[in-house]
Symmetry: C2
């Protein structure tokens, strides 16, 4: 009997829904950290993330449905067989990640991170001028589900919002302008906030190099809620240290966890959060994930169209 390995957290009701959707399959339930190489190699479908290194191009695996939005760990060479279909749970995380980065953006603008530092010192100190998102231009790089949700929050608060995306298309709601990635360099000097929601891939690697960060407006902020590969820790550190940018807020890093000895921890103008914007920190996120997975399972078994198929060369959804 063909086997489905499930690592997305589920209650009995959800297990029952899965079983009813795939009566011809045997189910095995594990979790994303502890799923073994043996469990993985015997599955023809996996629903949920598993440690990428344990997949070893399993020839049995027809389809891997991730519970994450990012698929970067799985598009690398030597992880999945070329025949394995890869789908993500993009769409589940928009609200959670966008809200987190929106809060980080406002913290930077209102200097709340600096006031927190002063609080530790018991110091009643005025940190001077702040700025308003209502008067700001926000450049949203990456206009998937999360980028669009972030753009909406900024727009509602009064910002001018400019989107940057790979492929031509109409103007998304809650954006004032939309441009192609090729125009990025010309747009950087206009923005008070540059927000990246790009996936991890060869294409996006080191996109925010020190040369690009230097094109940003003096006093501007950089935030990253996509993947950490878009900016090297050294470039980010240099940009902050030299005052090339006024501050940054990042939830994602090239290497995670950020090593305890890394100098980025001590950069006062950087807000570090430990890749917690998404995950299941907002309770409804995993309801979204489970819904997406169930819908995709039904589509897969009934010959329907799978949603959020990942293009392995670009790391983006097709």
């Amino acid at each position: 009997m063909k086997k489905i390995l499930v690592t997305v957290p589920c209650d009995e009701e959800y297990r029952q829904s899965l079983r009813e959707s795939a009566p011809d399959y045997e189910f095995e339930f594990s979790d994303r950290a502890t799923a073994t190489a043996e469990q993985i190699s015997s599955a023809c479908i996996i629903l949920g993330n598993v440690p990428a290194s344990r997949i070893s191009c399993s020839p049995e695996l027809r389809w891997l449905q991730l519970s994450s939005s990012g698929a970067d760990a799985y598009v690398k060479e030597g992880i999945l067989s070329p025949d394995t279909i890869l789908t993500s749970s993009t769409g589940a995380y928009g609200k959670a990640v966008a809200e987190h980065l929106f809060a980080v953006t406002l913290s930077l603008m209102k200097k709340l991170h600096l006031y927190r530092d002063k609080q530790h010192e018991h110091c009643w100190a005025d940190m001077g001028y702040v700025s308003s998102l209502a008067d700001a231009t926000v450049l949203v790089v990456g206009t998937g589900d999360i980028g669009l949700a972030y753009a909406k929050l900024c727009k509602l608060m009064g910002a001018r919002v400019i989107g940057v995306r790979r492929r031509p298309g109409g103007l998304p709601e809650y954006m004032d302008e939309i441009h192609l990635a090729s125009e990025l360099d010309g747009l950087l000097p206009e923005a008070d906030i540059v927000a990246s929601f790009l996936p991890g891939s060869r294409e996006t690697n080191g996109l925010f190099s020190i040369d690009r960060l230097m094109k940003m407006k003096p006093g501007a902020f950089f935030v990253n809620g996509g993947r950490g590969n878009v900016v090297s820790p050294n470039d980010l550190l240099l940009a902050l240290h030299e005052g090339i940018i006024a501050g940054a807020g990042v939830d994602v890093f090239e290497t995670e966890p950020l090593p305890a000895g890394h100098p980025l921890w001590d950069e006062p103008r950087l807000i570090v959060t430990p890749h917690v914007a998404g995950d299941d920190h907002l309770e409804e996120t995993f309801d979204n994930v489970r819904r997406i997975i169930l819908e995709n399972l039904r589509a897969y078994l009934n010959g329907g169209e799978l949603k959020s198929v990942v293009d392995r060369s670009s790391g983006y959804c097709v």
Copy 2:
């Protein structure tokens, strides 16, 4: 010649506008911290704040136009002669203060203050569940200019917003419900966020007592962008320490500056900012203040109606 003392910061152009509006008056320019008792006692009009203790019920003073929104320091006994008209610059601070408290609210909900503490420890630690303003009920206590601006930001982000005010009236825009202050106790258990924008006065003194804070929903947050007298430091500390509320963010305190040895500084679930939400931290705020002052000066001299006259018994604008 009758004298006008000006302590609001002004450039030559603004001085000229003032002089043209009041050609029969002599002007003296000082600033709010250094204005002397002598300068104050010889003025019949003061435009801008001065140290309250130096006014000593000056019989010369016909009108004091504050540059602040709060008037609490000036409504106390022994400061102003009963005949002195007191006006504030309410209306100038809505955007700045509301945005600051909105950023503080989001920080609390996304645990950014706790992640900042972890950053200091170089600790990549997941702090667990967060909540969303889009799913929250926000109780806005005090529906002046600042409270309304805060309500709008919360409403745009998707919150259910309930307003509380002293006097009956129609439903303000960006609110779902409006109630009278007498209904406060019954509303507290409904709110995920209780936000105070009340002025300092005898009426509001200690309004958020420990008994009231205990009526709040477990896991709810308290934020204060009005005046610090509404909650005693001991009650706030107890509520935080005992987990009666999940956290708080306050920009105002009963005693300011908050003494360096005060235990509130060390309360991790409290975000302390040193009365900086308003002031002139957002550059446009003082443009607003100067505009309000000039309009009121012209109204005063031409027998028009003064805006934002403070009712000395309640501390509110009439």
